[in-house]
Subunit: 79 residues, 2 copies
Amino acid sequence: MKTAYFYHAGCPVCVSAEQQFLSALNPAEYEVKVVHLGDSPELIAEAEKSGVISVPALVIEGNVFHINFGASIEDVKAA
Amino acid sequence: MKTAYFYHAGCPVCVSAEQQFLSALNPAEYEVKVVHLGDSPELIAEAEKSGVISVPALVIEGNVFHINFGASIEDVKAA
């Protein structure tokens, strides 16, 4: 089982992507960890280290997929 | 079985997203149709109608997910 990290910040674009998109992932292969960076600002550094520059973003095995655009990491930091 | 459309234009960002990302989708639920808009420009109008404004993009049940950024539809038209 691989872990997919879904970083978001509670914005409407993020929530929409989360519900519609995560359900399309293969449940036999991926465990999805949803990380709300607004609620867990201590995880912002980890997200940035993974290459996340905006949310929502999905990180799978070191690869970052920025899905649509909700907010930049800088905006999340400032919130 | 639902159909997921992956629109791309052969750019490096598109190819990378295609290989890494499509393999994460649930094969029990989605059949993926890969559409190369550079090779099939007659399908650009269909992509735009679905709401695609840049590639690579994934369209699932009427919802558009722009994944990272390879090129705008306008750039694809001009190519």
